[in-house]
């Protein structure tokens, strides 16, 4: 009797919490985005879409993600392969690689600001090398692409660690026998990587890609730290509408867009990297 109800009692707080603070607010976002005083409206969506910054913000966010995530995947795979191969100093190197995992995106933005600002270390280095006479204003609106590149670098720097950690633990699950067999048949290290590691790593790749892509759509503090509002992104616009224009409904409309592309990306990765049931480790 007691043990039949015990699991439900133990789950009750978490379930209740998620219902109140996760399910309900997401329903609420939908209501805010699609309703006015008198029922359903597309007005907020139209207000959002007709604002001149919307197209740019959407394009910037998607482009940032499309550039950042593939580079991170390659970098994370290299890091994970290095760590898996290491015999000495494994835990130290692993820790160093994992450091950015614990850092705030705001901190990452400020760190890269130290490099890219006008009196920053990049200008100092260029001057030291004699490439430039006067420091360049990298993060101004005249140099939009530099802001863009700085955001890309900062995001790659900060968030590759999370992918790496997921991939390292995924690689740990691959049985050694597969590699031994591949070696017996004369497969080169590269062949072993593409024919054994990558296919068997699919579940971890899926998790890593989904998590990272969604986080990339949420890029906010890094952009604010490096470019203020010069480079519009979806999350930044959401914040602007919530605070500067004080229009919660349009902010919710932006949230719906971010939610929409996040769900779309998740479905794409789930489909693309599907692991058939019989092939699971």
């Amino acid at each position: 009797m007691q043990s039949r109800f015990l699991p439900y009692m133990l789950l009750a707080p978490a379930t209740l919490f998620l219902a109140v603070f996760f399910v309900y607010p997401f329903v609420q976002i939908g209501i805010l985005a699609f309703s006015s005083g008198d029922g359903f409206t597309m007005g907020h969506i139209q207000t959002m879409a007709s604002h001149w910054k919307f197209g740019t913000a959407l394009w910037n966010t998607v482009l940032l993600t499309a550039i950042i995530v593939p580079i991170q995947l390659a970098l994370a795979l290299s890091m994970a392969s290095i760590v898996t191969k290491l015999k000495t100093g494994r835990s130290t190197i692993l820790f160093v690689f994992a450091i950015p995992l614990g850092l705030s995106d705001l901190a990452a933005g400020i760190i890269w600001l130290a490099i890219f600002e006008q009196s920053g270390f990049l200008n100092s280095m260029l001057a030291g090398l004699g490439v430039i006479e006067q420091p360049i204003l990298f993060l101004g609106y005249q140099n939009m692409w530099v802001i863009f590149a700085a955001v890309v670098l900062a995001e790659i720097w900060r968030a590759t660690a999370i992918m790496m950690v997921i991939l390292v633990s995924g690689m740990g699950l691959i049985p050694k026998e597969y590699y031994e067999a591949a070696e017996v048949f004369g497969a080169s290290p590269w062949k072993r990587f593409t024919k054994v590691t990558l296919p068997l790593l699919r579940p971890s790749l899926q998790t890593a890609l989904i998590l990272r892509t969604i986080a990339a759509f949420e890029v906010f503090a890094v952009v604010v730290a490096l470019g203020g509002t010069t480079l519009p992104v979806l999350m930044g616009e959401t914040y602007q509408w919530q605070f500067t224009m004080r229009d919660r409904n349009v902010a919710a409309a932006y949230a719906m867009v971010i939610l929409g592309i996040s769900i779309a990306a998740t479905l794409v990765f789930l489909r693309l990297l599907r692991v058939p049931k019989e092939a699971r480790l």
Binding site: S3, R4, L6, P7, L10, P13, A14, F17, L18, F21, F22, P25, F26, I29, L32, L75, I82, L86, L94, V96, I99, L101, G102, L103, S104, L106, A107, I110, I111, W112, A114, S119, G120, S124, G128, P135, W157, I166, V168, S169, S188, W190, S204, T207, I214, F217, E218, F220, A221, V224, M235, T238, Y239, Q242, R248, A252, I258, L259, I263, T266
Partner: protein, 282 residues
């Protein structure tokens, strides 16, 4: 890697090995520098005087002048923001473990209808852009009087941390054989006593690690903090809202204030990082 590509030329095995090793070491060192140098540069700026921070060109060496740090710490609102950050993070830590650990225990010890559904919901939360929750909750919090409070923000941060807490404690409990608990029951303990006397001591380090992880998640969060706090701003909210008006040395000192605790935390839980993400995979 390119050096590992097969060549037709017969070459001494030792040679290729050595070359491959060299490339391997170079790549490792460069990747470590890629991670560490930017953090070092932030510290250099923090440990320089305000005039050095906006000076040009920079040497890349700290002058160990603490004027920037002192300026930051005595800047109006900073001490309070630091304190608020700690309060919110501690609340998040307590809430996520307090709510998450029982759920993790239930998942690991019982088979019951609805178990898979619950697990799916927990895993699914991570496929949502969670900071956006702050928008509707801002309205709800005004209604119930939680607006601009540490507790209100901690609720949102707990949504971020809870899935981790559930999945991590689930695997921690699964690592402890149920036979240990059963032995305690036969020796006269009830379920609660067995849990406190036998299971607790064994999972305590892991539990602390996941609590620290929850703390870090809250400490680092920017968007929800900026949306939900006005007077009681956390450090991240304070920094992001004053970015366009604050001088450079304030930003860098603030960045360091964010980074240093996070570095310590990650160091403290380094052993558990991989165990955590290993489970979070499934």
């Amino acid at each position: 890697m390119s050096t590992l590509a097969p060549t037709d030329e017969p070459r001494a095995v030792g040679d290729t090995r050595r070359a491959g090793r060299w490339v391997f070491i170079t790549a490792t060192v460069m990747l470590m520098a890629w991670v560490l140098v930017p953090i070092y540069l932030l510290f250099v700026n923090t440990l320089s005087s305000p005039s050095e921070v906006s000076g040009f060109p920079k040497t890349g060496l700290p002058s160990f002048d603490f004027a920037s740090v002192e300026f930051f710490l005595s800047f109006s609102g900073v001490a309070r923001a630091l304190w608020n950050s700690v309060v919110v993070a501690v609340l998040t830590m307590v809430l996520s473990i307090g709510i998450g650990a029982p759920a993790g225990y239930a998942l690991s010890r019982f088979d019951f209808p609805g178990k898979e559904v619950f697990r799916m919901v927990v895993v699914m939360t991570r496929a949502f852009p969670l900071p956006l929750l702050a928008l509707p909750l801002a309205v709800m919090f005004i209604r119930v009087g939680l607006d601009d409070t540490a507790l209100g923000l901690a609720f949102v941060h707990t949504v971020l941390a809870l899935p981790f807490a559930v999945l991590i404690t689930f695997s921690l409990f699964s690592g402890i054989p149920i036979e240990l608990e059963e032995a305690a029951w036969t020796l006269g303990c009830n379920r609660l006593q067995a849990f406190i006397k036998v299971v607790m001591p064994l999972i305590l380090p892991g539990l602390v690690a996941s609590a620290v992880f929850a703390f870090t998640i809250s400490w680092n969060e920017v968007f929800a903090a900026a949306v939900l706090t006005i007077e009681n701003r956390t450090l991240t909210a304070f920094l992001v809202q004053s970015l366009n008006v604050s001088p450079l040395h304030l930003k860098f000192a603030g960045g360091t204030a964010l980074v240093v605790p996070a570095l310590i935390f990650i160091f403290a839980v380094r052993k558990y990082l991989f165990a955590m993400w290993g489970i979070a995979n499934r």
